[in-house]
Symmetry: C2
Subunit: 702 residues, 2 copies
């Protein structure tokens, strides 16, 4: 598939170049130039390796060239660890010679280093059809291709890590190694001037040694492209575990209004993960625990767990932890109980948890024996808790039996198809190493084991879901004001129901309109940014006298020229929702649904999705609210019409997407009741003109 | 203080007997009789040790006596590891000879072992004024007294562990050892026939080597006594970390009604912990992490954390984790920023997080240097995250500098009084050992470090709190029915406000009463267990015609003979609460306050405390509700009268305590509004007569 000189070099070549040059190679074992040279030379059986140093000299027994020009051929990949001032010249020379890939470790570019110099260099590399990783990165490692242009230990395995932080990568590496796992590939993104997170993850979708993708991303650029890449990894059967930061940022990215206050940057990333079926992680530890479960030889697929332990206390703690995570500890079937009763001594409890009550210590074969008796249901999980893996620590004579039991457990898992997960109070013992080697996940803390099962089960549950995106609507005639009257007309035209209303200027017109609509009424002043706060809304106007007084008072207070006279909607068993759409700088249109009413900000019972979305996704969004049971017929009340609410959400999102001139669109409150749905108010915030055009550009060319 | 033969032996003697006999001593290194003998003999420099075995013979070079009768003197403590059948005879013989303490490892008593035989034995021991630990326990260890009558490794330290599960004790021991901590004392409770959790913890209150008490308790007996003991440990300055189980039990212990459905056994234990200022733990890992923070040489006292790391990614992840736990990452003062700017190279970020951006690796002295520059505020915490402790793993030449920096960090903490906590991606390295040795807590995962800081800060915040218990009221004239009419009268007599009402039988009486009270009214049928569900409540009866119709309909539907005609209460800005009191089998009266209204069960926004309680505690209870901000003046609404609500809670709890014949008492809804509080309905469930007397007995004599 790779061409000798394609228009733009395919990224796969970055991970298996035919030749490598390390510029800035060094004999000092404390320098990057040394680590790169050592790593590159380790791949000499597979590719030509050149070392370059202005001072020439010898590094690791290899004589250095004084510059790239002295090399007999252009190196396909050039790794750069020179001072920032030299980077432009080195890369310029390499491009002229025909190099295709650059890995720039150097923290910056130029003398002094500037952002502009970095951008300029990236543009030059791109214009030449070559690819740039960095600058300011910790390089890359491809285990299968013997390519190591980084620092530190990279145990070989099936996890690919794409990281915007080198140290987070090292931390994950340490933890993977402790869990008996390792890397298929490591890509340190650095400043992402060329290759970005989406590029690097895309290269992993069809990379056979990679069974799981882990990514640490701090800043999102073209969020929609990343979402598509994550979804394609998922379609290729590879879990993506995404670690990000920003939960602590008080500031929201979707600007003002309720919607703005209720949507954080992390909510949007979480919505993206839900839609592209990636798992959003909160810490490196959680990531590695989850990877262990997903990469198990027989991975947990559900949260139905049978606990097995040698102590009632440890069994009970495990059951509590499972309950905390919302997993189930099902009752055993009669046949299973009978089998366990026969196999175990009388002090054991043949229920769930299976408390061996010392029978495990008496006979370590009890563990694989019980695992086998629990059957072959792949939709269950057998969770060992406590002692197993640590018996021989205190009683070395048990080592042989315990190691054999570990092998037995692994075998039962494979033969029965029923996953086995182990929590052990031991650490790094031979039986535990044995378990990990055979692909049985092992955890030091019960809460880690349980959380990993929960996340693996969640990931497996995601496969059944229907994608939530919808077709982008064509752009429509731009909105010229964000006022209720105009926004209402726009939304009504797309099928959003509003109460009957007339728009008036004079008191006489208002009284006339009221006669046609009938009392009680709602009176609203037009042309105000925050009409409720400004005293521009009167609810429940009961007669003409009141209407005249309210209008007079409102005119005096707000100075408004135009007013809506609107029928007051009253319906039994109704609930308030808020529906808003805003634009995230990285992910574009984002729709929010939340519980409405006075407690909205207190409850923060909201759900976010990328827009546009289809009806199924909108319904799922509403149903994901914590208060959804109230809408669905709580304690005998008739259920609200959620289908109608979902249609409204779809219409509001579509309207927003069709109107790039709108920065925010909010329908609040939306009344949903057993007979349907009605929007009681709506407003839009128009974007500054220079912002409107902006959104048609791709954010980053990568 | 210890008497030679007190009426009942003081428990302290159990942990430092003058002589020990191990009955059932064995030469088999896989048996309890061997482990006990080995442990006992290790204390021979401090006390006389006898080994007893029916077959005589030699164990570990010591000749065994054939029975206790052959010993030259009575052993003060007898450890028993014989078969169950022999236990009664062994203990009988020892009691006759004058032994005072028994540690029974044997899993049961009698041939065959029965509960009755255990109880009978415990009674005999108690009657003789002696003390019994077990049976079915894993013995005890007292590090300071060289007493080891257990199995496994017990590193020496300042944590006392009291455990109802031996294996949970071992698991905690493993984790403590990894954290560089150890045991001052270990007490395995087993079946608690004699010494129970409260006894064992009480013995630790004035035990100088114990700085922290950890307890694993599965079943609570005299919960109030335990609460008092925990509080006294707290008063002695010792944190108590309590680990328990039962969160997964679907069944509630406080029986029927809303209150019952809303209070779980774990809620009651949590309430006990809050009142006695113990920390309720969810896992062994959490317990050991928290112990590490509380036992630090300079323990964290607040959640104001400055993060220091060598990588932007790790710093950002730490800040997010702190935000997740609700801790604060305060802005640094200008002087501190200036100091950091001067001390660090330009690539570092002198803000919070302090991102050294590689300056840490360049100069490991940066870490203690930054810690020193962060000042001497003991109400802050310095949290290192990521690389520190692991630099020398990849670059062995850094070991000296890194170990020196570790010592420097510990020194800064002591000198400045500002705590230092370390999260390191390394494990078991020399610098990390150094840190732990100097009393600096070290964690493998950032979330563990952050959660431990949060819990230590929480514990320190508890010292300021006012105890919430109130005097027990004297018993009152018993209630004979749980009907609204009677319960209302009882509560009104104790100051609980109800709407004006009259109780009637006939339609004519009802109409008369209505004339006096004024419409709209509420009509309620008396004598029904669940009157709302039975159609026995009509709200908002607007006129006489309606009253007649409703009364007729209600009479037909419910067959009730008596009715309440009650004024309908309407007040603006009111909120519904539920207030209930029930009786927990171990902890006695328990009061619940919760958000009322239709969503009560969905929200489960409830808080529980032991009853009776004082006004301060009641106010704190109400304020601990998730929805409390709604009551306190949300978004400009006038605040509800929480003082009045607290008084109502106190009165309802007092009423319950004064009425042992009441099993449950519920006031629901309670309307709290800016002008006060009013109870809109109330009911009681009377206890079965045989239950009433029960509660006057102490649950367990210990």
């Amino acid at each position: 598939m790779r061409h000798l000189r394609p228009e733009i070099a395919e990224l796969d070549g970055l991970f298996d170049p035919r030749s490598v040059a390390v510029v800035g190679a060094s004999a000092d074992p404390g320098k990057w130039g040394h680590w790169l040279a050592r790593g590159a030379l380790a791949g000499r059986h597979r590719r030509t390796v050149h070392l370059v140093n202005r001072g020439r000299g010898e590094v690791l027994g290899v004589r250095c060239a004084g510059g790239l020009a002295e090399l007999p051929e252009a190196a396909e990949l050039v790794a750069v660890a020179t001072p920032p001032a030299h980077v432009p010249a080195v890369i310029g020379e390499a491009l002229r010679a025909g190099s295709r890939y650059f890995v720039v470790i150097t923290t910056g570019v130029g003398d002094p280093p500037t952002q502009e110099a970095e951008t300029e260099l990236a543009d030059r590399v791109r214009a030449a059809g070559a690819r740039l990783l960095g600058p300011n990165c910790m390089g890359l490692v491809d285990s299968g291709n013997s390519l190591s242009l980084s620092w530190g230990d990279f145990p070989v395995g099936s996890v690919a890590l794409v990281s915007q932080s080198g140290n987070v990568g090292l931390e994950v590496g340490r933890m993977l190694a402790r869990a008996g796992l390792g890397f298929s590939r490591f890509v340190s993104l650095g400043n992402q001037r060329g290759v970005d997170a989406a590029d690097a993850i895309e290269s992993l979708v069809h990379h056979p040694p990679t069974r799981l993708v882990a990514a640490y991303v701090e800043g999102f650029r073209d969020g929609r492209r990343l979402a598509r890449v994550l979804a394609s990894a998922r379609e290729a059967g590879k879990p993506v575990l995404l670690l990000t930061v920003g939960r602590s940022d008080a500031a929201s990215r979707v600007a003002a209004s309720h919607t703005g206050a209720l949507v954080s940057a992390t909510d949007v990333v979480a919505a993206m993960c839900r839609e592209s079926r990636a798992l959003l992680m909160r810490s490196t530890g959680e990531l590695v625990d989850t990877a262990q479960a997903l990469l198990a030889r027989v991975p947990p697929r559900t949260g139905r767990v049978v606990v097995v332990g040698d102590s009632g206390g440890q069994c009970a703690l495990a059951a509590d932890t499972l309950a905390d995570e919302g997993l189930t500890v099902p009752t055993l079937e009669a046949a299973t109980v009978a089998g366990l009763t026969q196999a175990l001594p009388p002090q054991a409890h043949p229920s769930n948890p299976v408390d061996l009550a010392g029978a495990g210590e008496q006979n370590l074969g009890s563990y694989p024996g019980v695992a086998r008796l629990l059957g072959s249901d792949p939709d269950g999980v057998t969770l060992l808790t406590g002692y197993f893996g640590d018996y021989a620590t205190g009683t070395p004579g048990l080592l042989g039996d315990e190691t054999a039991a570990a092998a037995g457990l692994a075998q039962v898992a494979v033969e029965s198809g029923r996953p086995v997960v182990v929590h052990s109070m031991g650490r790094d013992t031979e039986p535990l190493r044995q378990l990990r080697q055979f692909g049985v996940p092992v955890y030091e803390r019960i809460e880690q084991a349980v959380a990993a099962i929960a996340r693996a089960a969640h990931w497996h549950s995601l496969t059944q879901r229907i994608p939530g995106s919808a077709a982008e609507p064509p752009a429509a005639v731009p909105l010229t004001s964000g006022d209720y009257e105009d926004v209402r007309a726009l939304l009504a035209g797309r099928g959003v129901p509003f109460p009957e209303a007339e728009f008036v200027v004079s008191e006489a017109e208002a009284v006339d309109a009221a006669r046609r609509l009938g009392y009680p009424l709602v009176l609203k002043a037009m042309g105000l940014a925050h009409k409720t706060e400004a005293g521009g809304v009167a609810l429940g106007v009961e007669d003409e006298a009141r209407l005249r007084t309210e209008l007079e008072r409102m005119r005096a207070r707000t100075g408004a020229e135009r007013y809506a006279v609107e029928r007051l909607v009253r319906c039994a068993d109704s609930h308030e929702l808020i529906v808003g759409v805003g634009r995230d700088p990285a992910f574009g249109p984002v729709v929010l649904v939340g519980q409405g009413g006075t407690a909205t900000e207190l409850e923060r019972d909201t759900a976010v999705a990328l827009a546009p979305l289809d009806r199924t996704a909108a319904l799922e969004l509403i149903r994901s609210l914590r208060h959804a049971p109230l809408l669905e017929g709580w304690r005998g009340a008739p259920p609200a019409d959620l289908d109608a609410a979902a249609e409204l959400v779809v219409a509001v999102a579509q309207t927003f997407v069709a109107h790039p001139e709108v920065a925010e669109l909010e329908v609040n409150p939306v009344l949903v009741h057993p007979g349907g749905v009605v929007a009681l108010d709506a407003a839009a915030l128009l974007a500054a003109p220079d912002r409107v055009e902006d959104r048609t550009h791709a954010v980053d060319g990568g």
